[in-house]
């Protein structure tokens, strides 16, 4: 849940005018210094993220235990065994359920609250701060709060209302974990959508109002098309992180009871740190990342098509 994404427009920013570039000619003599200035960020990222990432691609085809560097190549055995495992099928289904939940509920609530805050200038900061409070707290804290004082059948809110703990039932465990994650997440979408809506050109809004559009009409025909790129970016991010979900499931249900809330993230983690099958863990890691990769490619295609129009 720590994947970060920059604005999509970042790569498409206009270059400085040629005049500035010739004036900057003497700067280019400093090329060596400039490469030295980029190097720390680049090298750190390559050493910590890319090289181990490439090793994962390699180890997925081995029986590596993770301890020492003794391993043998086993071809696609890891993948074959994982795909034949019913727990993997459960995990994948749960990841897809997770995706559907996150693409709908928090997005709707985020849009609704952002639209309501758009015209309320004085209350805007106040509500944004409150909505973001769960978002800035640690997953460990949020998960334990809900487990202890809300879901707890002995002393929690559910106990007081006579409802059994939702994390203990096979039917509800996944939803119980997703509910806490969504509770902590939606405020972030409010802030992002509101930020995007405020970029909508005022003359468009005024023109629509003059034409007699209702509040809903303005939202539907002016604001919504205007924030389309943001909606798409958030959608793609949701797809990527839905396949990587880990924290809240691990903390609230450990994937149980009886694997009912297992997601690929917890499934891979158990291979690595419970049964020391790092090769299999790597294979699951690759499958998880693959879905995110598809989402990124589709997004790049779509946004290019958008620009071509």
């Amino acid at each position: 849940m720590t994947a970060n994404l920059a604005p999509p427009a970042v790569a498409a920013r206009p270059a400085r005018p040629p005049a500035a570039r010739t004036r900057n000619a003497h700067l280019r003599k400093r090329t060596a210094i400039n490469y030295a200035l980029v190097a720390p960020a680049l090298v750190l990222s390559i050493v910590v993220v890319v090289i181990p990432g490439i090793l994962t691609l390699l180890f997925a085809f081995t029986d590596w235990s993770g301890i020492g560097f003794d391993f043998a190549f086993v071809g696609v055995d890891n993948f074959r065994e994982i795909l034949a495992d019913p727990v993997f099928a459960t995990s994948l289904t749960n990841n897809i359920t997770w995706l559907v939940l996150f693409l709908t509920l928090p997005a709707i609530v985020g849009l609704l609250t952002a639209a309501l805050l758009l015209r309320r200038k004085r209350m805007r900061t106040f509500y944004q701060v409150i909505f973001l409070m769960p978002y800035v707290l640690a997953p460990v804290v949020n998960a334990l709060i809900w487990q202890t004082i809300i879901y707890n059948p002995n002393g929690g809110v559910f106990g007081a209302l006579g409802i059994p703990s939702p994390t203990a039932s096979m039917q509800t465990s996944l939803y119980a974990a997703a509910a806490v994650d969504m509770w902590h997440y939606w405020g972030f979408l409010t802030v992002v959508y509101l930020g995007a809506m405020r970029q909508t050109p005022m003359d468009q809004v005024e023109a629509a109002v003059v034409d007699g559009a209702s509040g809903w009409g303005v939202f539907r025909h002016v604001y919504l098309p205007s924030i389309r790129p943001t909606l798409m970016l958030m959608g793609v991010m949701t797809v990527i992180f839905s396949f990587l979900a880990f924290d809240y499931v691990f903390l609230l249900t450990q994937g149980g009871p009886a694997h009912s809330s297992e997601v690929m993230g917890t499934y891979a983690y158990a291979f690595a740190f419970s049964s020391f099958e790092f090769g299999k863990a790597a294979a699951v890691g690759i499958i998880m990342s693959f879905f995110g990769l598809i989402a990124s490619v589709v997004y790049t295609r779509l946004s290019r098509a958008e620009l071509m129009r």
Binding site: L5, V10, G68, V129, M133, L144, M237, F278, A281
Partner: protein, 274 residues
């Protein structure tokens, strides 16, 4: 009439979602002062008296003293490394000062989408074989690398808003690149440094997957991991658990409220997922 009714409905909807966000946190607040018997009676009741026993117990058994130091050490390392490296790289990329800047941009875009699960397993083995686990500083550096692409993009955007003339004027006056960066550019992008610093700082302070994997020795654990350990022993003592939660919530919310302008603007501008 209908207009004011609409207004009222809007306020009501916002208030309801505000309550949804706050109720769990308010439950933490009131229950942190209660004895376990009081909590079991009803989680909604107010405490009979305001005592701090729960907080002392939580502080001791959650190892919050050393946990706090470890969290500060880890987060401090991440923020320091990220701010230095990302501002230098952002400066170079914004000014297109190296010929390969588009390739570097593409690299960071790709690095940003690499999920933790794709590199954590081999990284753990290497770090373990070098005997570097259970060090908050090492985890701080790893988290710095994870946050680096996003931070570099943010810093680049802030440097793009610095007029090129300013930099040229300084160079005409004969300052070195080092002086240019520290004396001229950094003061100008200070809001950017604060935005990136607080967002990356919160990410590092709250991080779970990497921290819990690399910091398993109790003496190396951060605040949040100490709280998690405490859950094993005190899961039936709700008052103490809530006191522990409150100790963890208050400093984070205090920093967030103090710097909310930077967090909100940074999120709205950069779309950060944490």
């Amino acid at each position: 009439m209908t207009r004011s009714l609409k207004q009222l409905t809007g306020h009501l909807v916002l208030a309801v979602f505000g309550v949804i966000a706050l109720v769990p946190l308010l439950l933490v607040l009131i229950n942190s002062f209660k004895t376990n018997a009081e909590v079991l009676e009803s989680p909604f009741g107010l405490p009979a008296h305001v005592g701090f026993e729960n907080f002392f117990t939580a502080w001791t058994y959650g190892g919050f003293g050393p946990g706090f130091l470890n969290s500060v050490l880890l987060t401090g390392t991440t923020v320091l490394v990220v701010l230095i490296c990302s501002s230098l790289a952002g400066y170079v990329l914004a000014g297109q000062k190296v010929r390969r800047w588009p390739a570097i941009m593409v690299y960071f875009t790709m690095a940003m989408t690499v999920p933790i699960q794709l590199f954590i397993f081999p990284l753990y083995s290497v770090v373990a074989s070098l005997d570097l686990t259970d060090s908050p500083v090492v985890v701080g550096v790893i988290l710095a690398a994870v946050n680096m692409p996003f931070a570099t993009f943010m810093m680049r955007t802030f440097f793009l808003n610095v007029p090129a003339e300013l930099e040229e004027a300084a160079l005409m006056d004969g300052v070195s690149t080092f002086q240019l960066v520290t004396r001229v550019l950094l003061p100008l992008v200070r809001p950017g440094l604060i935005t990136v610093g607080v967002i990356v700082g919160l990410n590092a302070w709250n991080e779970f997957l990497i921290s819990s994997t690399f910091l398993q020795n109790p003496s190396a654990q951060t605040l949040t991991l100490g709280f998690l350990t405490m859950n094993g022993t005190f899961s039936t003592d709700i008052g103490t658990m809530m006191a522990g939660a409150l100790i963890l919530i208050v400093p984070v919310l205090a920093v967030f409220i103090a710097l909310q302008r930077y967090v909100v603007d940074g999120m709205a501008a950069g779309a950060v997922k944490g």
